[in-house]
Amino acid sequence: MNSSACCTRKQKLFNVSESRETMVIVLGEQQNGKFKKATFEVVYYGKKLAEAKGTSCTALVLGEVEDPGQLGRYGADQVLVVSDPELNTLDTQQYTAVMKQIVDQHQADTVVLPHSTTGKALAGRVGIAIDGSVVTAVNALPEVNGSCTVSRPVFAGKAIATYQLNGPRKVITVTGNSIKPEEIGAPVQAEQIQADLPARKVRIKEVKRATGSTPLPEAELVVSAGRGMKGPENWGIIEELAETLGAATACSRPVSDADWRPHHEHVGQTGIAISPNLYLAAGISGAIQHLAGVNNSKVIVVINKDPEAPFFKAADYGVVGDLFEVVPRLTEALKKFKSQG
């Protein structure tokens, strides 16, 4: 198949149902039977990649899911579902085996996964199973003119490396929030398919999920606070600001180390890396290891009483002042803004 860009337009007419050749397979990750935003993002990404290559995009959904055909709206030309209840939870051996069967059957050459805990757990495994070249945490489409190259942040965001994927098959994980999914298609009729599952070796005892708020890795807006808060008893103003904004909360490492906040809120080099649209940091100095987890945010707002705090160098907007005054004032201003609609 010629994958040079000159053929893109002509090949958009490529008819999926006549040919079984599907070149891009996307994992339609589900949680409790539902899709999350990250799934729509990777489907859309997969479709854009398929268009650039002049091929089609198939979404593979594992487990029992409500309305899998809706993935057609974000660009899936075809949706395949293996609705075996064993696949409702992730066992990397089972997921990999199914993905390999589908990739082989469809002679797919690219697998796209979300850069979620699920996608990260699978990427290496799937790469070996299908004998593919793997690159994780990409935030833009690859260049597929002749060779396939794709860029991703390295050294905790201090540089960008361009990777060349030399194998005939490729596995890519896409960072959340790096592409805005658009409704470019219509729902499709999902096809139920069978797959051979290897015996499950992992027994799941218990699943604990934070209910209510958006999980931090997926949040578009994040309010974060650090040691400048003085103690856990002061977090009310942060929570109120987050609630007013509809944001998730995060913290710096010393804060979670001291058990002021739960460890899953810890962002940075040793915590989680996030890339929200807005990261608002109050009372965080902006140490390099903290920035490592947040410098892919689109907009950074820093509130710190020290004008020399290193965080201001990485910020788009800054407020030099006492957070105990500034944060409540900001919450008030936001409430006023929201009530004006």
């Binding site: 066992d91 990397t92 790469g127 390295v154 604990k208 999920r209 900001l330």
Partner: protein, 246 residues
């Protein structure tokens, strides 16, 4: 219990990041290296704790050049029993995984523990690749690992929460914060490390399925726009009208 811990080397976190003039390679001049924190603080220490509780041995493995012996000796000083270094530049995750799997296949381990990722390239790939090469269950991002007889219990991060699961040994695990507490090597450990075996082997297979062809620096941030602390209405309207994030 036979335990293998994979350790990698990474530039120290405040190292200055620059590249060779052709932008094709990382400039290593003056860069200090450390053991990858996830490997040192969590994977290695939990391996040692499990050995102390259940008996057995902890072997560390690194794929890297002779200069990495410094880091390997540190792992021995912290308490590993012996070490293997596969003598090659680790240029791709697959190549590294093949070396580790190749060693593990021969030696036979009950437990292979990794860090969740290296903090320089953050690939988070080698552990899953090794699990697939050895056809073993894989627990990614685990912050709790306990072994009772032949059964391992793991708590690992999943999307939006955590999961408690178990499997029979042998298994592959990647460790995150919470699994153990960092140990500082003491004088006795450092002395003993000098006499512990560090076996150097030659690599199998070839590199090159993935290669880095260029490095660039991220675009410079424009200077911060300061807003007066009294004027939060202005910040709100900037976020709405200019940044368009609310």
């Amino acid at each position: 219990m036979k335990i293998l811990v994979a350790i990698s080397k990474t530039p120290e976190t405040t190292a200055k990041i620059s590249f060779t003039p052709d932008n094709k390679a990382f400039n290593t001049d003056g860069v200090q290296y450390i053991m990858n924190p996830y490997d040192e603080w969590y994977a290695l220490v939990r391996g040692l704790e499990l050995k102390e509780a259940n008996g057995g041995s902890v072997t560390v493995i690194n794929v890297g050049p002779p200069a990495n012996d410094v880091i390997i000796r540190k792992a021995l000083a912290i308490g590993a029993d012996d070490a293997v270094r596969v003598n090659a530049e680790p240029l791709s995750a697959r190549f590294v995984a093949e070396q580790i799997a190749n060693h593990a296949k021969e030696a036979g381990y009950d437990l292979i523990i990794f860090g969740k990722e290296t903090i320089d390239y953050s690939g988070a790939l080698v552990p899953g690749m090794v699990a697939e090469l050895l056809d073993l269950p894989f627990f990614s991002f685990a912050h709790y690992l306990e072994v009772d007889g032949k059964t391992a219990t793991v708590t690992r991060d999943i999307e939006g929460g955590e999961e408690i699961a178990e499997a029979e040994l042998p298994i592959v695990v990647s460790a995150i914060k919470g699994m153990a507490e960092q140990r500082i090597p003491n004088m006795r450990g450092i002395m003993m490390a000098k006499r512990k075996p560090l076996n150097v082997t030659e690599p199998v297979g070839t590199q090159g399925d993935v290669e880095i062809v260029a490095y660039t620096l991220p675009p410079e941030k424009s200077a911060v726009k300061l807003v007066e602390p009294e004027n939060m209405d202005e910040l709100v309207s900037l976020l709405h009208e200019e940044a368009k994030v609310i």
